[in-house]
């Protein structure tokens, strides 16, 4: 009877997880879906605690209390701009739990482990261990404890793949000789090292793909745990997580027109040789916030294109205020969000939601790309590669083929940017040199705050329009050295 009750709990939990994810299909049902998933988790935990195998509760309580305290503190105090880091480190926690359960199971059963059980166990600890270090690496890069630029050295891919082959070799041996304890640990050590090597050459802009991939690995490690301890709810939940991570990483790499292999082993932004300065000087036209305010005041329609620079400058609230001011003046304002803008899938959406921008205004490229040509101003805030026309027509560019936002088709393009540094891919952006492009240099948040102030003044003193200032022409070298900073 007791087992039926437990199985009933697990079955209900599995169904509730699926319903929970289904709820996420629309913003209106998302929170209700989350409640389903929470109830599912509660059922699974209560069912397990009633299970006969558990005889001592005091240590469990210690773990649950500490874990809840840390988890709640992170959830409450972590700023939204730190969300990519939080996601990265949570993959490490999940994978750590799976790996430790695998190690414990191995030692409880070591002389009596069959080949099939060892296969599941091997997957569990191998995927788990490489996800632990991989996620910690991703966390350190996003938190800027480590340089976010790709770190590469000679024979790196050779070493990574070699190590992977060695680890799989040990795995294969263990399947037939499960009692080889030292080898089990050697395999875990190899897994940990592979995790480091795998994420070391990944640069900031490729993080969305890697985070999604680690999400998938963490899920698969949970599913493998389910096989090892013979628990179906773990298999279902792990499979859901694995599928989600897989789908997201596919979507992200498609949005960059790159393959998985290219993201993992391509190290874009590091190995690219320095571009040769062509000798010719090109000019950009530098405008002041006053010019920009004048332009925006006249605009009937504005599309805002945010990028990672918005997150760095924490400019989401200033952008939201600008959008509100423009809407109050009667302009149509929308946001064009590229799937890989930022450091994780959906990064820009979360930040703009935090700043109270209604989600109806946030558009995907397919929805909005045709509207740029009838738009007065495309306002680009801290984005670069996702609006680089080189992706369309420059065959030798690393960006070539990537679907971009057609911001260059707007009547006026306004770019808020710290400097003329090329984006992450190291490709100079033609768009900045065009006649219709207004470059406003400076910290995005400071510029936007100034803009908002000016627009409010105009509103206050009716009749006194801002006079356009003569633009300052500035000669700069055609190609600056590729830097690996924020696009």
């Amino acid at each position: 009877m007791k087992t039926y009750l437990l199985d009933g709990c697990y079955l209900a939990a599995a169904v509730l997880f699926i319903l929970g994810l289904k709820g996420l299909n629309a913003p209106a049902t998302a929170r209700r879906g989350l409640v389903f998933a929470e109830v599912g988790m509660l059922l699974a935990v209560i069912g397990t605690l009633l299970h006969g195998d558990i005889v001592q509760f005091q240590w469990i309580l210690v773990g649950v209390v500490i874990g809840s305290a840390i988890g709640a503190a992170m959830a409450i105090f972590m700023p939204m701009t730190a969300m990519p880091q939080r996601i990265a480190i949570s993959h490490a926690f999940g994978a750590l739990a799976a790996t430790l359960v695998g190690i414990i199971t191995y030692f409880e059963h070591v002389p009596r482990i069959g080949g099939i059980e060892m296969t599941a166990l091997g997957f569990e600890v191998l995927l788990g261990s490489l996800t632990v270090t991989g996620s910690l690496m991703a966390f350190s890069k996003l938190q800027e404890l480590l340089p976010s630029a790709p770190t590469t050295f000679r024979f790196q891919n050779f070493l990574t793949i070699g190590l992977l082959v060695v680890a799989l070799g040990m795995f294969g041996y263990l399947i037939f000789h499960p009692a080889a304890g030292p080898l089990f640990f050697a395999m875990i050590a190899a897994g940990l090292l592979i995790g480091v090597l795998l994420v070391l050459p990944i640069g900031g802009a490729d993080m969305p793909v890697v985070l999604a991939l680690l999400n998938s690995y963490a899920g698969l490690a949970s599913a493998a745990t389910g096989f090892v301890i013979g628990n179906n709810v773990l298999i279902v939940a792990g499979a859901l997580d694995g599928a989600s991570g897989f789908f997201l990483s596919m979507m992200m790499s498609r949005a960059m027109n790159r393959s998985f292999t290219n993201v993992l082993f391509g190290a874009v932004g590091a190995t690219r040789p320095q571009q040769q300065a062509t000798g010719e000087e090109r000019t950009v036209i530098r405008y002041t916030p006053e010019d920009a305010a004048y332009m925006l005041e006249q605009a009937q329609s504005v599309i805002i294109v945010p990028g990672y620079g918005m997150a760095v400058a924490q400019a989401q609230h200033a952008i939201a205020e600008l959008a509100t001011l423009l809407i109050q003046r009667g302009a149509q304002v929308r946001f064009a969000i590229h799937p890989v803008a930022g450091r994780m899938p959906g990064h820009m959406n979360v930040l703009l939601a935090e700043a109270n921008v209604p989600y109806d205004l946030l558009c995907e490229p397919d929805q909005i790309n045709d509207d740029f040509q009838t738009t007065d101003v495309a306002l680009i805030v801290g984005a670069n590669d996702v609006v680089n026309p080189a992706a369309r027509d420059k065959r030798d560019s690393p960006l070539y083929g990537m679907p971009i936002l057609n911001a260059d088709q707007a009547r006026t393009v306004m770019v808020l940017k710290r400097s003329l540094r090329p984006g992450f891919a190291g490709e100079d952006n033609e768009l900045f040199y065009e006649q219709k492009t207004m470059m406003v240099f400076g910290d995005a948040k400071a510029t936007l705050t100034a803009l908002n102030q000016l627009l409010k003044q105009v509103k206050a003193s009716v009749g006194r329009n801002l006079a356009p200032q003569p633009p300052i022409q500035e000669a700069i070298p055609a190609v600056s050295a590729p830097s690996h900073g924020k696009p």
């Binding site: 989350l34 649950v64 939204m80 096989f227 599928a243 109270n356």
Partner: protein, 108 residues
Amino acid sequence: MSTISIESLYILVLAGFVGYEVIRHVPPLLHTPLMSATNAISGISLVGALVAAGSNSGVVATVLGVIAVTAATINVVGGFMITDRMLKMFHREAPENQRQRAGGAKQP
């Protein structure tokens, strides 16, 4: 450790397909909450950790088990809480606009 049946493999594959089909329809708008929600759900390894920490099979098993319980609980509790915090922020219309529409324009 139980023997692994072929049924478990069926469950894995079918659940993977269900997951893919369900998740395919999640709009990009909600991709970050999706990641953090699936992360919380994969904290289900907590179930395995609970058994490992509570089955009284040696000091090492208990210590590692408690660490595993802690790590998984961080994901479950933190994951669900932060996903909810995020989802709470998504709304259709800015509150200021609603106020304005209700009570006339006011200087921000």
